[in-house]
């Protein structure tokens, strides 16, 4: 089985037409579906949040010497964007934020993390949630800051916590009240 890093690639990754944007409607729809799934799978296992379309290892297969065209890269990522599984981070579409968990799912993960660690009424910094001892081994470890802030804001909106400015300028604190 072919691998990209420690990611196990499916068989069709060696199928040359997989790397050419198909013009026939039905075939193209299936192709887009397969690419969406593969991108999400790859990002999930590799903990990749930001994809640069022109510089994404998954879009090239050196084994069969095939690489997606610029147009195809844009089409596949845009398909994820239109489903709410990704967001373009700039107008030029040079960076794409991939949400292999939706923001709502990330918020649920934060809640479970808080409950599992008995932190219902404690205060934590955002940085602690991302890389603290408690989060080690959970999906929250190494989470993209933008994604985490969006999840926390959603929870704040629901009254589950309060975000406040910390003493140092670059970190914010979170007061849970579940």
């Amino acid at each position: 089985m072919q691998k990209l890093g420690d990611f196990k690639l499916p068989n069709f990754f060696n199928y040359p037409p997989y790397f050419t944007l198909q013009p026939v409607k039905d075939t193209r729809e299936k192709q887009i579906q397969l690419w969406k799934e593969l991108i999400l799978d790859y990002c999930r296992t590799q903990k990749i949040f930001i994809v640069e379309p022109e510089n994404f290892p998954l879009f090239t297969n050196s084994g069969i010497e095939r690489s997606l065209s610029h147009e195809a890269r844009e089409v596949f990522l845009s398909a994820l964007v239109s489903e709410g599984r990704a967001e373009w981070m700039d107008k030029g579409h040079r960076k794409c934020l991939v949400l292999w968990h939706r923001i709502q799912d990330w918020a649920d993960l934060v809640l479970r993390f808080v409950k599992d660690n008995g932190l219902e009424d404690s205060v934590m910094t955002v940085e602690e949630i991302r890389s603290g001892i408690e989060s080690r081994g959970t999906e929250l470890y190494g989470i993209d800051r933008t994604v985490l802030m969006r999840a926390l804001k959603l929870l704040e909106h629901k009254g589950k916590l309060a975000i406040f400015k910390g003493t140092s300028a670059d970190d914010e604190g979170v007061k849970f009240s579940i």
Partner: protein, 486 residues
């Protein structure tokens, strides 16, 4: 029944007359009535508004329905009433000025009243021109020219069909006796061939008038080749020679249209008649190319066969587009890409598609796809058309494309075989399974190659395979194949 009075004329499948050897069309006119002047009350049938064709041998009349045609051999015509006499009739009264122009001629008939060159009696036939712009003078001129040309008499020894019953050859010739005779005959033949070649190339006009003889010459050469290959069948085992002979025959055959429809002879009926002639002509090239042929190829072949009477691409296109209105077995087809082809009406896309699919499932094609030229070779058609077929197969979801620096290739469509819920699942008895199998073979081959290069002799290739695949459950099934591979 007109058949009782007039000999019948054969028609081709698309309603064109079947011409005798050496016969050439001179003039075509539509909406012409054929009347018999002497016995209007008799049982001579009403032949109303048909297509009239004057050839060098006959006057043909084809009814509008185009089922059975009638012919008056020019040999049976004993007199043609010239324009002065017909204009005298015109001047007789005002009434006749408004009536349709007529052309009259006298034919020999047998005692039963049947038109025949050996007949003793006579009868006056009248052609009534009902068409709007029909020019009776020009028709009369053409008729007179053809009649006075007496082409049916100078068959050149090749015979002119039914009129002389094939008994003309050898009538007036000097007897050929002994070696001297043979030599003289040979000499004569060379001289006459040489002369006709020289005459033909003197100037373009002469070439045009010699075109018919050139066609006959080609026909003769073909027959000679045919008989030659029969006689020396035991000696000429050389396949190359046979092949070149066949090719030569094809070339000579393709010279073939003795009486091309021209604007001059057909006038307003030009495109309609051209369309019918083309429909008859494309049958053989179509058969040879499997039921579909490129319009450009037809243009070349058709014009080559017409010799000097070349047609323009527009004329060809117009002739093809007229097929919609006529009952002919061929049709013009326009592909999405704009490529135009001629195909049999019975032509079936499904058949080609299933052939393409089986091509795409061949081991070689599974591994590296098929290009338009691969398909062209395997289907025996032109690459441009093979590409059209591949694109059709793609649009039906049979194939999908691979565009890379290596070129534009097609693979069998595996997308529908891939399971979205489990991307790693491959069903063995699907195209996907077959493809994966070939893919594995390729991988194994490259590993074997690397191993034999890198490893010292004696080191087991299996070890490196195990390193590559890990302890994968599928590995054992590779071993038998491996023993033979490496």
């Amino acid at each position: 029944m007109a058949g009782k009075w007039l000999p019948a004329a054969e028609l081709t499948g698309s309603g064109r007359p079947v011409l005798h050897q050496g016969e050439v069309e001179c003039s075509l006119l539509s909406s012409v009535d054929l009347e018999c002047e002497d016995n209007p009350s008799s049982s001579f049938p009403l032949l109303k508004s048909g297509l009239l064709i004057v050839t060098t041998h006959r006057v043909l009349w084809i009814p509008p329905e185009g089922t059975t045609a009638h012919a008056i051999p020019l040999a049976a015509v004993s007199h043609v009433f010239t324009s002065s006499s017909s204009s005298k009739i015109k001047k007789k009264s005002i009434k006749t000025m408004f009536s349709s122009p007529r052309v009259r001629f006298q034919v020999s008939v047998t005692s039963e009243g049947r038109v025949d060159e050996r007949g003793t009696g006579s009868m006056v036939m009248t052609l009534v021109l009902r068409g709007k712009n029909s020019d009776s003078d020009s028709l009369l001129g053409k008729l007179l020219e053809a009649w006075r040309g007496r082409a049916w008499e100078s068959g050149g020894g090749s015979g002119s069909g039914k009129f002389d019953g094939g008994s003309s050859s050898g009538g007036l010739r000097m007897p050929v006796v002994g070696v001297a005779g043979i030599l003289r005959k040979e000499q004569e033949m060379w001289e006459s061939t040489d002369k006709s070649l020289q005459d033909a190339f003197q100037d373009l006009n002469a070439l045009m008038s010699k075109a018919k003889e050139m066609v006959m010459l080609a026909e003769k050469m073909r027959l000679k080749l045919l008989s030659g290959s029969n006689n020396q069948g035991s000696v000429a085992n050389d396949e190359d020679e046979m092949g070149s002979k066949e090719e030569m025959q094809d070339w000579l055959l393709s010279v073939g249209i003795a009486s091309p429809v021209t604007k001059e002879s057909a006038g307003a009926l030009y495109h309609q008649q051209l369309s019918r002639q083309l429909a008859d002509f494309v049958k053989i090239p179509l058969e040879r190319s499997g039921g579909m042929i490129n319009l450009i190829d037809v243009y070349c072949v058709f014009n080559r066969a017409r010799g000097t009477e070349l047609i323009s691409p527009e004329d060809l296109l117009q002739a093809c587009s007229l097929w919609k209105n006529v009952d002919v077995p061929v049709m013009l087809r326009l592909f999405d890409s704009g490529v135009m082809v001629i195909q049999n009406k019975s032509y079936n896309d499904e058949q080609v598609l299933s052939r393409i699919k089986s091509l795409a499932l061949k081991p070689e094609a599974l591994r590296s796809g098929i290009s338009a030229s691969d398909a062209a070779i395997m289907l025996g058609i032109a690459p441009a058309m093979a590409k059209e077929h591949l694109l059709t197969a793609e649009s039906k979801g049979l194939l999908c494309r691979d565009v890379s620096p290596d070129g534009f290739r097609f693979y069998v469509n595996l997308f529908q075989d891939i399971n979205l819920d489990d991307m790693y699942l491959v069903k063995d008895h699907s195209a996907y399974g077959a493809w994966r199998w070939r893919e594995r073979e390729r991988e194994r081959a490259s590993i074997c190659e690397q191993s034999t290069k890198r490893l010292q002799p004696g080191v087991n290739v299996h070890t490196s395979l195990l390193m590559y695949y890990g302890n994968h459950a599928e590995l054992p099934i590779f071993f038998p194949a491996l023993e033979t591979k490496c």
